[in-house]
């Protein structure tokens, strides 16, 4: 029922698009059949793979940087109430700046390339990771902490067996958010600069009037986004099997 109704909605939307486009209601927008043909073309003749690699590279490297640096900044801020209170206003200010305002700056410094899109995506995503890591580190249960203290558990074991597992659910959410933001900003930056990848292909095909290919790349962006999101959801479920929101309780 669930799967079937989801599929039904998709079919309905595609059907409406097909009818509207075929009867000329959508102006220059091609029908879904034409777009599907263009997607198939990009996959089969191999011209889509290069841009895919560029977008994935920007996404992956910026995500990696955002996660590593986000944890390094967030953890110390989260474990102490003093450092958290000191830095909260600064963090709130920084994370509300839209990453794309730095396009002119990074293009000036690093040119129109991978380096620029990585920097922009990193700046957009790192705050999600910082904030989630802070929340995670602050969520330490006092009873659990007393338990570790009363047994005199060693510092390293306290980090790996108490602090990290406590923060892990929050950090996993942070990684999933950061992954979505990194893709979003990577593609946006590739359009605005333009700087390779799916983004530049969308601009190029729009300028040359190849609308089916332009829409094909837009569809591919959506597919990529969904694939990334479901991968991270699966990853979260498997790492956090013990967490109340993922438990399969037997008793």
């Amino acid at each position: 029922m669930n799967r079937l109704s989801q599929l039904g909605v998709i079919v309905l939307v595609l059907g409406a698009w097909q009818v509207a486009a075929a009867t000329g209601q959508l102006g220059a927008v091609p029908t879904p059949l034409v777009v599907a043909g263009a997607v198939l073309g990009l996959v089969l003749d191999g011209s889509g793979w290069g841009p895919l690699a560029e977008t994935l590279a920007s996404w992956f490297i910026s995500l990696l940087l955002a996660v590593v640096i986000g944890v390094i900044i967030g953890f110390p801020l989260g474990v102490s109430r003093v450092t958290y209170r000191m830095s909260v206003v600064t963090l709130d200010f920084l994370r509300t700046i839209p990453a794309l305002v730095f396009v002119p700056l990074v293009v000036l410094l690093y040119g129109a390339g991978l380096q620029s899109t990585i920097l922009l995506a990193f700046f957009g995503a790192v705050w999600a990771m910082v904030m989630q890591t802070i929340y995670g580190a602050r969520d330490l249960d006092p009873v659990a902490r007393d338990t570790f203290r009363s047994f005199g558990v060693r510092r390293w074991d306290t980090v790996t067996r108490l602090l990290l597992p406590t923060a892990l659910p929050y950090m996993a959410t942070g990684v999933r958010l950061a992954a979505a933001i990194c893709l979003l900003i990577s593609i946006s930056a590739q359009i605005v600069i333009p700087a390779g990848g799916f983004g530049e292909q969308i601009v190029v095909h729009q300028l040359s009037g190849a609308l089916p290919e332009m829409f094909a790349y837009i569809v591919l962006c959506g597919v990529l986004g969904m694939a990334i999101d479901s991968t991270f959801r699966w990853f979260e479920r498997s790492v956090l099997a013990w967490h109340p929101s993922h438990r399969k309780v037997s008793s």
């Binding site: 203290r149 047994f151 060693r154 597992p165 008793s251």
Partner: protein, 266 residues
């Protein structure tokens, strides 16, 4: 070898306040080796505060706690704590076996020795089958037994328990009480158990410390001469048991009558 009369744990004039709110005042008592001491008092008297001072988790403002003659400034190595809230004291990301092994990791034991201790401790509390379960896959009573097993595996000289059976059902509670008596008899560990339940205190204790007043101090220290081999039905119907229970009950009632409900002068 220590004689039975040498105190293993001494509380000497413990006072503790949080800001203007004085919770404990001049609490003094001692625990002999192998002795089962119950601290009883109504809710909100500062039993948990006292327990945190005893275990070095929340040091007192005045007076001192001594374990084997040494002044406690941080949790002493010869002491283990069983908390009331087992669901938060057992780590949900570790299986029961790993939870029990946790305090053993710093003792410099070999892997096999750690394994043996974990298995032994789990068998001691009748959880030999549960090593590979997560705590949240077990009932409340089983979880508290796992927490007790963790403390036993550590082989402490003193076991400190904070209302350990307050959140399990009556039958489980009786079973766990008998388990603790059995553990004390077999392993010779000294136990300090905090409870608000007078029946429980008299049934388990060799000595009952009655905590009362505001700030709380020791209203009485009552020896419980009911001997070993106690039984939930037989012991609890003995006249001596009933008398002691009534006596302690009266002490708590009388004490709380004479103390004004306002904050005590400092």
């Amino acid at each position: 070898m220590q004689s039975i009369s040498t105190p293993i744990l001494e509380a000497d004039g413990i006072g503790k306040s949080f800001g203007d709110n004085q919770v404990l005042s001049d609490v003094t008592f001692s625990v002999a080796k192998g002795q089962f001491v119950c601290i009883v008092g109504p809710s909100g008297t500062g039993k948990t505060t006292l327990l945190r001072a005893l275990s070095g988790l929340g040091p007192a403002n005045s007076g001192e706690v001594r374990v084997n003659g040494r002044v406690v400034v941080q949790p002493p190595a010869e002491l283990a704590v069983v908390f009331q809230d087992y669901s938060r004291s057992l780590m949900p990301w570790m299986k029961v076996g790993k939870n029990v092994e946790l305090p053993l990791r710093r003792l410099g034991l070999s892997r096999e020795e750690r394994r043996k201790r974990v298995e032994q401790a789990l068998r001691d509390v009748d959880l030999g089958h549960a090593e590979e379960l997560y705590p949240w896959q077990m009932s409340g009573g089983m979880q508290q037994r796992a927490a007790i097993a963790r403390s036993l595996a550590y082989r402490p000289e003193i076991l400190i328990m904070d209302e350990p059976f307050a959140s399990v059902d009556a039958q489980t509670r009786a079973d766990l009480e008998d388990l603790m008596l059995d553990i004390r008899d077999r392993l010779g560990v000294s136990i300090v158990l905090v409870t608000h339940d007078i029946e429980e205190a008299v049934y388990l204790g060799d000595k009952v410390i009655v905590l009362s007043g505001r700030p709380a101090s020791v209203a009485a220290s009552v020896e419980i001469p009911l001997g070993t081999g106690r039984d939930q039905i037989e012991t609890k119907s003995r006249p001596a048991y009933l008398e002691l229970r009534a006596e302690i009950h009266r002490m708590i009632m009388r004490k709380s009558d004479t103390v004004a409900p306002q904050r005590a002068p400092r």
